[in-house]
């Protein structure tokens, strides 16, 4: 009961402190919020790219194009060769005539009609039975060495590149979060240090009349927690605002590709974690500042 009361007193004192210096509290909260919004914003970006990737067909598709000079005998040979590949589940032939018909029925029909001869090659759509990147690579190498094959296109290449880019982005987020987290710690510690100095009289008198270090520390620690939580909320606000500002552009791009895609905030758990981490860092910063001051006081008092 007694300890709850002491905590309530500390909480009240922390809130009074916030109200006593509203401008500097606000400015510090803004700095904390903006610092925290960078890693959170980057995370949100990656989260959205990730979910966009999730909407794309994940199946591996390999397309091979034969040389335009390929004869029906060549096609038969390739078909036989393909049948002997253990890592292929399916291989379907699209002849140059079929491809031309498909194109004619599209918007380019008139243009195709004007061509003197069919420029399209015979092609195979291959579906591998494996998703192991090494075996896929081996398959692609084997096929591309066949003399009848002009080129081979492995559709997962760009996805792989994007995935690598995403991994890089994730590492960048972690680095950025670590760097800005440290900055946050310093900012919070400095902000609290200013307060500790302005309340030096109160701290000194309290200690002289029997306050424990815990009692003195508590309001500052709570202040740090509160300020961190406000900063975390502000960071989420910044990200929401940024999303609101860029989402018309995203919608435009998405509609060009006839895709429906809307930017989304990360899951609530992640947002809560962002607030918790910001609060935690500011709390630690506050404790560092007060402890430093208390050590100096203890030292002075012999």
């Amino acid at each position: 009961m007694n300890s709850i009361r002491l905590r309530m007193i500390a909480l009240r004192s922390a809130m009074q402190q916030m109200l006593r210096m509203p401008l500097s509290s606000l400015l510090n909260t803004i700095v904390i919020g903006i610092a925290a919004s960078f890693p959170l914003g980057l995370y949100t970006l990656l989260f959205n790219v990730d979910s966009l990737l999730g909407q794309l067909p994940q199946q591996n598709q390999i397309t091979i194009f034969l040389k335009t000079s390929a004869t029906p005998v060549d096609i038969k040979q390739v078909q036989t060769l393909l049948r002997n590949q253990p890592d292929l589940a399916q291989a379907s032939l699209i002849t140059r005539d079929q491809a031309l018909q498909t194109m004619k029925s599209g918007t380019l029909g008139a243009m195709i009609d004007a061509l003197p001869e069919n420029p399209l090659p015979d092609a195979f759509n291959l579906t591998p039975s494996t998703s192991d990147p090494e075996r896929l690579q081996k398959l692609v190498t084997t096929i591309s060495n066949w003399p009848q094959v002009e080129s081979i296109q492995h559709d997962s290449d760009w996805a792989k590149r994007l995935a690598a880019l995403l991994d890089f982005g994730r590492q960048l987020t972690v680095l950025l979060a670590a760097a800005l987290g440290t900055a946050l710690l310093v900012i919070a510690s400095n902000a609290i240090r200013m307060q500790v100095l302005t309340r030096n009289d109160e701290i000194e008198v309290s200690k002289l009349i029997g306050a424990t270090n815990t009692f003195i520390r508590r309001p500052f620690a709570y202040f740090g927690l509160l300020q961190g939580a406000c900063g975390g909320l502000l960071a989420i606000g910044c990200v929401v605002l940024a999303m609101h500002l860029i989402s018309p552009n995203v919608n435009q791009v998405a509609s060009l590709y006839a895709a429906s895609f809307a930017l989304r905030l990360p899951e609530p758990l992640i947002l809560l974690a962002a607030i918790a981490i910001t609060s935690l860092l500011c709390w630690i910063g506050a404790l560092l500042a007060v402890n430093r001051h208390l050590r100096q006081l203890d030292h002075q008092q012999g």
């Binding site: 009361r5 002289l208 009349i209 306050a211 424990t212």
Partner: protein, 217 residues
């Protein structure tokens, strides 16, 4: 209650503020500590409250060896002591009432209980009508009494006052002395220092005379 045995306090640089001091103050006694400024009066009071630690020798307060006390135990020692500072150490960012409440808030008293006790303490020193004022608006004598109210509000068994009559005119100083005597009469051990022994002579208390860090009884 308070027991000094061969206490030496030497500061960095070699200055000896207290030179081999031994004395005893009984439970419920009222003792005056006299001497010129710089004689070591404040240092002696600081040693009792654990604000400073002796270089050598032992300081016992209520049977506890203050010099050897763990830092974490010091606050609890101080909660049994009322301190009246030469410079008052009042907080000007809060009302008279909240100044007096500070020791009770620290000890975790409930709001109602703290308010009641603080009013009683303010009433005792005659400042109850001014409970809502900021202490900056009080006269020097009133600030002194506020400091006394804060020192007695948690009913400590020991009162230590450093030059409580220092800057007050004679009549006011007599009032303050009467106040301390009334606390002493209800069993509180009182130790107060003064550089002006003249007007203390008519009072029947034991006097410890400090001279250049030594006792001359």
């Amino acid at each position: 209650m308070i027991h000094f045995s061969q206490v030496i306090k030497r500061y960095a640089g070699g200055y000896e503020a207290l030179k081999n001091i031994s004395f005893e103050i009984e439970d419920g006694e009222m003792v005056l500590l006299s001497g010129h400024s710089g004689a070591g009066k404040s240092t002696l009071l600081n040693l009792i409250a654990g604000i400073e630690r002796p270089t050598s020798g032992t300081v016992l307060v209520n049977g506890q060896n203050v010099g050897a006390l763990n830092r974490a135990a010091i606050p609890y020692l101080r909660r049994n002591i009322g301190l009246i500072f030469q410079d008052h150490k009042l907080l000007f960012d809060r009302s008279v009432m909240n100044n007096v409440r500070l020791p009770l808030d620290i000890a975790g008293y409930s709001h109602q209980d703290a308010q009641k006790r603080a009013r009683a303490a303010l009433d005792r020193v005659g400042l109850l009508p001014k409970e809502k004022l900021n202490p900056i608006h009080l006269s020097g004598g009133e600030q002194q009494r506020l400091c006394i109210a804060r020192a007695i509000v948690h009913r400590p068994s020991i009162l230590l006052a450093d030059e409580p009559t220092g800057n007050l005119d004679h009549a006011y100083a007599e009032d303050i002395m009467d106040l301390f005597e009334s606390f002493n009469q209800v069993g509180v051990t009182v130790v107060l220092s003064t550089h002006d022994e003249g007007f203390l002579k008519q009072r029947p208390h034991r006097i410890l005379r400090l001279k250049q860090g030594g006792l001359s009884q």
